[in-house]
Symmetry: D2
Subunit: 195 residues, 4 copies
């Protein structure tokens, strides 16, 4: 039976690389997959999934009004749905994707981050974590060497920002990943290039 | 470094058994653990963790105003904190426990269910899934044989209830665990004894 | 589709408890399971699986000549096979159980330790780790507080034994679980009662 | 404390991609890693780790006489060791790497396959599975759509080979990954291009 998978990590851990690899594995067998990313994230251009190792790929875009169940109910010969930036799904869309897996029989693999710069859950991620049949972490490290689980927002001077909107992609903000200890102890994140 | 662990499952999968086993493993080494369960759940009596295999144990009780960080900051020689019915934690309490693990260095293991009878997240569980350093499923089966992930509420006649309060423990309601497919297709759950 | 599961740990971590809980979960749904333990292990009597939390249960016994595939090919209405002390399976028996899962469609859950007192693999465990569709660790702690992965053999005076037969259950030998660091640094294990 | 990690999968699942991503994650933080692959595998040239998504990288080469513990005991400022084709390690080398993690404190991440074309364990993999502190599967699919766990050897005409040396990389042999059911039922693997 098909499942809903959630692969989570801090930012910059390799989610997009892993997603592109799974798509490659399916397509090598001549199978059809559909790839989506969020319209919100246009860091690398709208509708592009980019591995920091180099490869990138043009994919479909989802916004918050797309009805995934209606969309997938019409799909034919579809072997897998892969979504990047899944934290931007609405709770209702997560439900649609979960139902698609279990009623339509289409495996759905979602990749995203769990929490925002304050350590608060993204609503989409909270529902993915609640409903997913398989939850797996893609690990990366904090500057201190421990496993990073948080995404700290910093300004152009490397200063940590602790208040603001949940989603901020444009402008001078940047994100670095930190472990829980550095996050709570407000260790000053080192400034390095994450372009 | 200490971690926050979340071990989730549908109801009746063996969470309390697993928790009592971990306590036993620590205590066998002469180590001190503290066990908690929710004041809300009094199915087997207040402050008792009961394995359906038989063993049970009197433990401390938490309510929604307990400040875990303040409590644990005073603890001495404490090797582990174990919490049952962790879905009844408040988001703030989950934050306290996570901070206790990473700042005080005390491992915290929480056992609970992810979603209510409608498939909606418990707030405490959503935060545990968001912050936990380690997430693991304890599996059980649906009547159909597949993995159960939902907790369906039924009335005294075995009829499924789809509306109501998130928490209902007393009275004539009961819960059975179902797989996602049976949950969505509203398969009638077989009536069996879960006392 | 059915799978071969291997749940491994150091000794005294709760494997038998977990196995009895899974059997309980199946039987609560009116399903038939078959439980096996090794004829070699008679610490608690032949053919008895004992949880250190208290519960125990009389089960079938396997020796090294039992043909599991032939046995299970005749089974009817069988929902799951559960084996304790699975490190004592022969490689050929592991193959039979794996084939039974994938050709006969019967889930097989094996519980056992990975390595002997020298840190060398048990042949049965090496094949279980090679063929299992799902591998999961049941964790316990070393006296030092870290995760234990080794089973150190000690004599009646608490002195570590580093040479001898792979299997020694009778007589004055005992086993304690240690983490890899204590194992390699030959830290003297503290003497405590593990009866 | 450092750990020995084993990430296993069937061939062509994305192990090298995952390994290169982890190296990238460390290096992005200015940390030093050392990468190794086996001298035996020269499909893409000696000492080159190649992701099927495109990226590749020149790395160090190990043969069966290299003493990893001696090598790593001299290392300075080393944050992680990453090994591809780890099934070609000798049991003794796996022990060296495990000891390096726990005594020298250097994390070691090994990527490899578990079994050969007959479903028999590689000695190195059997020891990695026995000693690794963390075991994780990288999944890929069989032509039938189920999870592939076996590496079937086929000749130039697509015919399955069931006897021969454990290692055969040159000449007209090729490998395809299959699920356990297709493996046992000797389903004829479809011929597709895996260059």
């Amino acid at each position: 039976m098909a499942k809903l998978y959630f692969r989570y990590s801090a930012m910059n851990a390799g989610k997009s690389t892993a997603l592109l690899q799974v798509a490659h594995n399916y397509e090598e067998h001549g199978r059809v997959v559909r790839l989506f990313t969020s319209a919100i994230d246009h860091r690398y251009g709208v509708g592009i999934i980019t591995s920091r190792l180099g490869p990138q790929r043009k994919v479909e875009v989802f916004d918050e009004v797309m009805d995934f169940y209606a969309l997938l109910a019409q799909a034919q010969e579809l072997s897998c749905v892969l979504l990047d930036e899944a934290q931007f799904l609405t709770p209702e869309q997560v439900r649609q994707l979960h139902r698609a897996a279990h009623v339509l029989g289409i495996p759905v693999m979602c990749y995203g981050i769990r929490s925002d710069f304050r350590g608060e859950p993204f609503p989409g991620s909270a529902y993915l974590l609640t409903l997913a049949d398989s939850i797996e972490e893609i690990k990366t490290i904090c500057a201190c060497g421990k496993k990073a689980t948080f995404n700290v927002r910093i300004d152009e001077y490397g200063k940590r920002i602790v208040e603001g909107e949940q989603i901020a992609i444009e402008g001078d903000v940047r994100y670095i990943q930190q472990c829980a200890q550095c996050f709570y102890l407000h260790r000053v994140p080192p400034l390095f290039d994450l372009t």
